[in-house]
Protein backbone atom coordinates (compact mmCIF):
# COMPACT_ATOMS: atom_id res chain seq x y z
CA UNK A 1 0.00 0.00 0.00
CA UNK A 2 2.91 2.31 0.64
CA UNK A 3 3.87 1.77 -3.00
CA UNK A 4 0.49 3.19 -4.09
CA UNK A 5 0.99 6.11 -1.76
CA UNK A 6 4.40 6.83 -3.32
CA UNK A 7 3.06 6.49 -6.86
CA UNK A 8 0.30 8.98 -6.05
CA UNK A 9 2.89 11.35 -4.59
CA UNK A 10 4.99 11.08 -7.76
CA UNK A 11 1.96 11.68 -9.97
CA UNK A 12 1.20 14.77 -7.89
CA UNK A 13 4.76 16.00 -8.40
CA UNK A 14 4.57 15.34 -12.14
CA UNK A 15 1.34 17.33 -12.37
CA UNK A 16 2.87 20.25 -10.52
CA UNK A 17 6.03 19.92 -12.60
CA UNK A 18 8.19 20.17 -9.51
CA UNK A 19 9.99 17.47 -7.57
CA UNK A 20 10.86 19.61 -4.56
CA UNK A 21 10.69 17.76 -1.23
CA UNK A 22 7.85 20.04 -0.11
CA UNK A 23 5.76 19.13 -3.18
CA UNK A 24 6.54 15.46 -2.61
CA UNK A 25 5.44 15.73 1.04
CA UNK A 26 2.16 17.41 0.10
CA UNK A 27 1.63 14.78 -2.59
CA UNK A 28 2.19 12.06 -0.05
CA UNK A 29 -0.37 13.60 2.30
CA UNK A 30 -2.95 14.02 -0.46
CA UNK A 31 -2.36 10.40 -1.49
CA UNK A 32 -2.79 9.26 2.10
CA UNK A 33 -6.05 11.19 2.36
CA UNK A 34 -7.30 9.60 -0.87
CA UNK A 35 -6.39 6.10 0.22
CA UNK A 36 -8.10 6.68 3.56
CA UNK A 37 -11.24 7.93 1.83
CA UNK A 38 -11.31 5.02 -0.64
CA UNK A 39 -10.80 2.47 2.09
CA UNK A 40 -13.54 4.04 4.23
CA UNK A 41 -15.98 3.89 1.32
CA UNK A 42 -15.02 0.27 0.79
CA UNK A 43 -13.77 0.87 -2.75
CA UNK A 44 -10.41 -0.83 -2.16
CA UNK A 45 -11.43 -2.92 0.83
CA UNK A 46 -10.48 -2.30 4.42
CA UNK A 47 -6.90 -1.14 4.54
CA UNK A 48 -4.82 -1.04 7.69
CA UNK A 49 -2.15 1.07 6.07
CA UNK A 50 -3.74 4.45 6.79
CA UNK A 51 -4.21 3.69 10.47
CA UNK A 52 -0.66 2.43 10.65
CA UNK A 53 0.68 5.67 9.19
CA UNK A 54 -1.50 7.63 11.61
CA UNK A 55 -0.09 5.67 14.52
CA UNK A 56 3.48 6.03 13.32
CA UNK A 57 3.07 9.81 13.04
CA UNK A 58 1.45 10.00 16.49
CA UNK A 59 4.30 7.93 17.88
CA UNK A 60 6.95 10.13 16.26
CA UNK A 61 5.34 13.22 17.78
CA UNK A 62 5.16 11.58 21.20
CA UNK A 63 8.76 10.48 20.93
CA UNK A 64 10.14 13.87 19.86
CA UNK A 65 8.30 15.49 22.73
CA UNK A 66 9.72 12.94 25.20
CA UNK A 67 13.16 13.52 23.72
CA UNK A 68 13.10 17.28 24.29
CA UNK A 69 11.64 16.95 27.79
CA UNK A 70 14.14 14.32 28.86
CA UNK A 71 17.04 16.31 27.44
CA UNK A 72 16.11 19.40 29.43
CA UNK A 73 15.73 17.26 32.52
CA UNK A 74 19.16 15.68 32.18
CA UNK A 75 20.76 19.06 31.41
CA UNK A 76 19.36 20.40 34.69
CA UNK A 77 20.61 17.30 36.45
CA UNK A 78 24.15 17.86 35.16
CA UNK A 79 24.08 21.47 36.35
CA UNK A 80 22.81 20.51 39.80
CA UNK A 81 25.54 17.91 40.17
CA UNK A 82 25.60 14.51 41.85
CA UNK A 83 23.55 15.67 44.82
CA UNK A 84 20.37 15.73 42.74
CA UNK A 85 20.92 12.23 41.30
CA UNK A 86 18.90 9.17 42.20
CA UNK A 87 20.36 6.58 39.84
CA UNK A 88 18.92 3.08 39.83
CA UNK A 89 18.80 -0.08 37.76
CA UNK A 90 15.21 -1.25 37.45
CA UNK A 91 13.70 -4.42 36.02
CA UNK A 92 10.80 -3.66 33.70
CA UNK A 93 8.60 -6.58 32.60
CA UNK A 94 8.32 -6.99 28.83
CA UNK A 95 4.94 -7.28 27.16
CA UNK A 96 6.60 -7.37 23.75
CA UNK A 97 7.49 -10.75 22.36
CA UNK A 98 9.62 -10.54 19.23
CA UNK A 99 13.29 -9.59 19.14
CA UNK A 100 12.53 -6.74 16.75
CA UNK A 101 10.04 -5.13 19.11
CA UNK A 102 12.39 -5.48 22.08
CA UNK A 103 15.22 -3.94 20.04
CA UNK A 104 12.96 -1.06 19.10
CA UNK A 105 11.96 -0.47 22.72
CA UNK A 106 15.59 -0.61 23.89
CA UNK A 107 16.67 1.82 21.18
CA UNK A 108 13.90 4.31 21.96
CA UNK A 109 14.50 4.13 25.69
CA UNK A 110 18.23 4.67 25.20
CA UNK A 111 17.63 7.57 22.81
CA UNK A 112 15.70 9.45 25.46
CA UNK A 113 18.41 10.57 27.84
CA UNK A 114 17.96 9.79 31.49
CA UNK A 115 17.10 6.19 30.75
CA UNK A 116 19.30 3.55 29.16
CA UNK A 117 18.80 -0.10 28.33
CA UNK A 118 21.37 -2.18 30.17
CA UNK A 119 20.40 -5.82 29.73
CA UNK A 120 17.60 -8.09 28.56
CA UNK A 121 16.96 -11.18 30.69
CA UNK A 122 17.73 -14.46 28.98
CA UNK A 123 14.09 -15.57 28.89
CA UNK A 124 13.15 -12.21 27.30
CA UNK A 125 10.60 -11.51 29.99
CA UNK A 126 12.26 -8.42 31.43
CA UNK A 127 14.51 -5.59 30.42
CA UNK A 128 16.86 -3.87 32.84
CA UNK A 129 16.99 -0.11 32.51
CA UNK A 130 19.34 2.35 34.12
CA UNK A 131 17.78 5.66 35.08
CA UNK A 132 19.46 8.78 36.33
CA UNK A 133 16.57 9.88 38.43
CA UNK A 134 14.23 7.37 40.02
CA UNK A 135 10.85 9.09 40.56
CA UNK A 136 9.49 9.64 44.06
CA UNK A 137 7.21 6.63 43.74
CA UNK A 138 10.29 4.40 43.44
CA UNK A 139 10.85 1.50 41.09
CA UNK A 140 7.11 0.77 40.83
CA UNK A 141 6.30 4.18 39.39
CA UNK A 142 9.21 3.96 36.97
CA UNK A 143 8.02 0.55 35.75
CA UNK A 144 4.55 1.95 35.21
CA UNK A 145 5.72 4.93 33.15
CA UNK A 146 7.79 2.74 30.83
CA UNK A 147 5.06 0.11 30.49
CA UNK A 148 2.30 2.59 29.77
CA UNK A 149 4.38 5.00 27.75
CA UNK A 150 6.93 3.32 25.53
CA UNK A 151 5.96 -0.33 25.64
CA UNK A 152 2.27 0.24 25.04
CA UNK A 153 2.98 2.53 22.12
CA UNK A 154 5.49 0.19 20.51
CA UNK A 155 2.98 -2.64 20.83
CA UNK A 156 0.18 -0.53 19.39
CA UNK A 157 2.29 0.43 16.44
CA UNK A 158 3.29 -3.08 15.41
CA UNK A 159 -0.08 -4.67 16.02
CA UNK A 160 -2.93 -4.21 13.56
Amino acid sequence: MIAWNLILALVWCALWGSFEPATLAVGFLVGLLLLGLLSRRGVIGKVRYVRKVERAVAFAAFFLWELVLANLEVALQVLRGPKALRPAIVRVPLILDTDEQITMLATLVTLTPGTMALEVSEDRKAIYLHTMHLPKGGAEEFRRTILQGFERRVKEMVEP
Partner: protein, 119 residues
Amino acid sequence: MRQWIASGLLAFGTVFTFLAAYGVLRLPDSLTRMQATSKATTLGIGSVMLAVAFAFDDVAVRTKAALVVLFLFVTQPIAAHLVARAAYRSGAPLWEGTVADELGEDSEDSGGPASQREP
Protein backbone atom coordinates in the same frame (compact mmCIF):
# COMPACT_ATOMS: atom_id res chain seq x y z
CA MET B 1 14.78 35.68 9.53
CA ARG B 2 16.04 32.29 8.50
CA GLN B 3 19.56 33.14 9.62
CA TRP B 4 18.24 34.14 13.03
CA ILE B 5 16.44 30.83 13.49
CA ALA B 6 19.57 28.99 12.36
CA SER B 7 21.74 30.94 14.82
CA GLY B 8 19.34 30.22 17.66
CA LEU B 9 19.27 26.50 16.92
CA LEU B 10 23.05 26.44 16.59
CA ALA B 11 23.51 28.13 19.97
CA PHE B 12 20.98 25.77 21.56
CA GLY B 13 22.73 22.70 20.14
CA THR B 14 26.16 23.90 21.21
CA VAL B 15 25.01 24.56 24.77
CA PHE B 16 23.60 21.04 24.94
CA THR B 17 26.72 19.44 23.57
CA PHE B 18 28.80 21.44 26.04
CA LEU B 19 26.59 20.35 28.94
CA ALA B 20 27.06 16.73 27.90
CA ALA B 21 30.84 17.11 28.00
CA TYR B 22 30.57 18.87 31.36
CA GLY B 23 28.39 16.01 32.61
CA VAL B 24 31.12 13.51 31.85
CA LEU B 25 33.36 15.38 34.27
CA ARG B 26 30.75 16.11 36.88
CA LEU B 27 28.75 12.89 37.21
CA PRO B 28 29.93 10.20 39.60
CA ASP B 29 29.98 6.79 37.86
CA SER B 30 30.35 5.30 34.41
CA LEU B 31 26.63 4.62 33.89
CA THR B 32 25.52 8.16 34.70
CA ARG B 33 28.37 9.51 32.58
CA MET B 34 27.21 7.43 29.63
CA GLN B 35 23.79 9.01 30.11
CA ALA B 36 25.31 12.46 29.78
CA THR B 37 27.23 11.65 26.61
CA SER B 38 24.29 10.02 24.86
CA LYS B 39 22.40 13.29 25.26
CA ALA B 40 24.72 15.31 23.01
CA THR B 41 24.02 13.12 20.05
CA THR B 42 20.26 13.43 20.24
CA LEU B 43 19.06 16.94 20.95
CA GLY B 44 22.45 18.64 20.55
CA ILE B 45 23.42 17.32 17.14
CA GLY B 46 19.75 17.26 16.16
CA SER B 47 19.37 21.00 16.58
CA VAL B 48 22.77 21.75 14.99
CA MET B 49 21.67 19.79 11.90
CA LEU B 50 18.30 21.55 11.92
CA ALA B 51 20.23 24.83 11.95
CA VAL B 52 22.20 23.65 8.91
CA ALA B 53 18.96 22.79 7.12
CA PHE B 54 17.61 26.25 7.89
CA ALA B 55 20.76 28.11 6.88
CA PHE B 56 21.31 26.51 3.46
CA ASP B 57 18.64 26.73 0.82
CA ASP B 58 19.85 23.63 -0.94
CA VAL B 59 18.08 20.30 -1.25
CA ALA B 60 21.33 18.31 -1.24
CA VAL B 61 22.53 19.90 2.00
CA ARG B 62 19.15 19.39 3.65
CA THR B 63 18.97 15.74 2.66
CA LYS B 64 22.43 15.19 4.08
CA ALA B 65 21.53 16.93 7.34
CA ALA B 66 18.48 14.68 7.64
CA LEU B 67 20.62 11.61 6.96
CA VAL B 68 23.16 12.63 9.61
CA VAL B 69 20.38 12.80 12.20
CA LEU B 70 18.91 9.50 11.02
CA PHE B 71 22.24 7.64 11.22
CA LEU B 72 22.98 9.10 14.64
CA PHE B 73 19.59 8.04 15.93
CA VAL B 74 20.17 4.53 14.65
CA THR B 75 23.76 4.04 15.87
CA GLN B 76 24.00 6.10 19.05
CA PRO B 77 21.71 3.98 21.28
CA ILE B 78 23.55 0.80 20.30
CA ALA B 79 26.93 2.31 21.15
CA ALA B 80 25.65 3.72 24.45
CA HIS B 81 24.01 0.42 25.37
CA LEU B 82 27.14 -1.61 24.57
CA VAL B 83 29.51 0.66 26.52
CA ALA B 84 27.17 0.74 29.54
CA ARG B 85 26.66 -3.03 29.45
CA ALA B 86 30.39 -3.66 29.16
CA ALA B 87 31.02 -1.29 32.08
CA TYR B 88 28.44 -3.02 34.24
CA ARG B 89 29.57 -6.54 33.38
CA SER B 90 33.25 -5.82 33.88
CA GLY B 91 32.39 -4.69 37.40
CA ALA B 92 32.75 -0.94 37.16
CA PRO B 93 31.61 0.23 40.60
CA LEU B 94 28.23 1.89 40.88
CA TRP B 95 28.09 5.22 42.66
CA GLU B 96 27.33 4.83 46.39
CA GLY B 97 24.20 6.96 45.97
CA THR B 98 22.64 4.41 43.60
CA VAL B 99 19.14 3.74 44.92
CA ALA B 100 18.49 0.26 43.52
CA ASP B 101 20.26 -2.41 41.47
CA GLU B 102 17.64 -4.97 40.51
CA LEU B 103 19.93 -6.47 37.88
CA GLY B 104 22.54 -7.25 40.57
CA GLU B 105 19.84 -8.68 42.87
CA ASP B 106 18.45 -10.90 40.14
CA SER B 107 21.77 -12.25 39.00
CA GLU B 108 22.72 -13.08 42.62
CA ASP B 109 20.37 -16.06 42.37
CA SER B 110 22.44 -17.35 39.48
CA GLY B 111 25.88 -16.93 41.00
CA GLY B 112 26.09 -13.34 42.14
CA PRO B 113 26.45 -10.03 40.35
CA ALA B 114 28.39 -10.22 37.12
CA SER B 115 31.19 -8.23 38.75
CA GLN B 116 31.75 -10.87 41.43
CA ARG B 117 31.41 -13.97 39.30
CA GLU B 118 34.40 -16.08 38.32
CA PRO B 119 35.57 -15.01 34.87
